[in-house]
Symmetry: C2
Subunit: 240 residues, 2 copies
């Protein structure tokens, strides 16, 4: 064929991929997804995908189901792969070798691997946090040490190609930081304005007193025992 | 039947219902949904439902579809009905008389009617904001006057049984305020802690300079004209 194709040359596209799995906390995913969604509306060359085992409705921890846009097989190689967290189903997923293998393979195709909330426990269980500083939901942050990571108490933590955010809503802050790094201050400020992310928690910042007092330690342990009841080896590794 | 039933007497349940419709911005809904979801885990007597025209996947403004838990017909009478917003599909929905009628009927079954972001435009188009103070996403807030409301620049605005939040992420603050009012400070603080809602926007608060400079006025008008192209009467009412 000597005729010139009328198909335009493909522009390089920066893809940010979010992993969807049953039982997750939707806000972990939807917060940063809207941040990158706004970026892709504002600046050419960005796109988001939501990737799951199958393109079908998945339960979450609230009464809404979510449907991914891509399977792992048909997902374009992402710039960043973000793994959201959740409560008991995410704790149980630490023992889901099929999901962990998906995460390892997808991470190998990504330049940046990120997590929100207890999503970092899945990265840890997949062996992707060894030797890294990382964070998680405050209730399970210390557990990261069992996966060879160094737990850090910050809103988000970057260590080489790994970026992890604290609990649930922290994914919004982490995503704005990534947008700032990728596309600059002006783009990040405009995304923030579009999402009107100018927080006013009615009772002020989080009161960390009950956490510092250890009020949730036995609750956290009990959840681990419930979630990993069929996996005594992993449970022992995490609670011994 | 003289035997006593073994079914326990039904406890009164406070239901918070979120309206799902095609094209919405998921964060508008998922933010407050997780707030009330956490409340329902922590305090007995609360439940959340997500209500839509049909229980089937609906597109959103990011590449994830959402599936409601209830139809309008099978939804329990809610304490609060919350209408999320969105961008062009929500602007277009101001002309969707079927949806507006659903909202009027559902509002009549609710004690509190709320919105997030441009969801207040749908409340306005349904005639539910007449004579009320209200807010919306900053880009469309002034439009509320066309529906007989008084636009107010605040994170959230309460006027009688109507509560409206500013853009997208403001729904989280509004929901925490409602939890505080319904269940008290301690419950609201615990919900905030569970969601680790301790925001740290990496570039600080929103920079309102471009908004104050009117940089988005013509963009907002153009979006209205695109969204309401087949509805010249409504378009004239909103742009004249």
């Amino acid at each position: 064929m000597t005729e010139q194709s009328s198909v335009p040359a493909e522009e390089p596209v920066t893809t940010v991929a979010f992993v969807l799995y049953p039982g997750l906390t939707p806000l972990d995913m939807v917060g940063p997804l809207q941040v990158f969604g706004a970026l892709s509306e504002l600046v050419p060359g960005y796109r988001t995908v939501v990737v799951g085992e199958r393109i079908e409705p998945m339960d979450s921890d609230v009464p809404v189901q979510l449907v991914p846009s891509h399977t792992f097989e048909d997902m374009p190689d992402p710039y960043a792969l973000i793994v959201p967290g959740g409560f008991r189903p995410t704790l149980a997923a630490m023992a889901d070798e099929g999901l962990l293998q998906r995460l390892r393979e997808a991470a190998a195709r990504s330049q940046v691997v990120g997590s929100v909330c207890t999503g970092s426990l899945l990265l840890g269980a997949a062996g992707l946090l060894e030797g890294r500083e990382a964070t998680s939901h405050w209730m399970y942050r210390d557990l990261l040490a069992r996966f060879g990571a160094t737990p850090v108490t910050r809103r988000w933590v970057e260590d080489g190609p790994v970026i992890t955010a604290a609990g649930v809503s922290a994914g919004i802050d982490m995503a704005l930081h990534l947008v700032d790094r990728l596309a600059g201050h002006e783009a990040a400020r405009t995304v923030q304005l579009v999402l009107e992310y100018d927080p006013e928690p009615p009772l002020g910042p989080v009161d960390w007193t009950p956490v510092d007092a250890g009020a949730f330690v036995s609750f956290a342990q009990e959840n681990l025992r419930t979630a990993l009841t069929g996996h005594p080896g992993l449970l022992a590794r995490l609670t011994a």
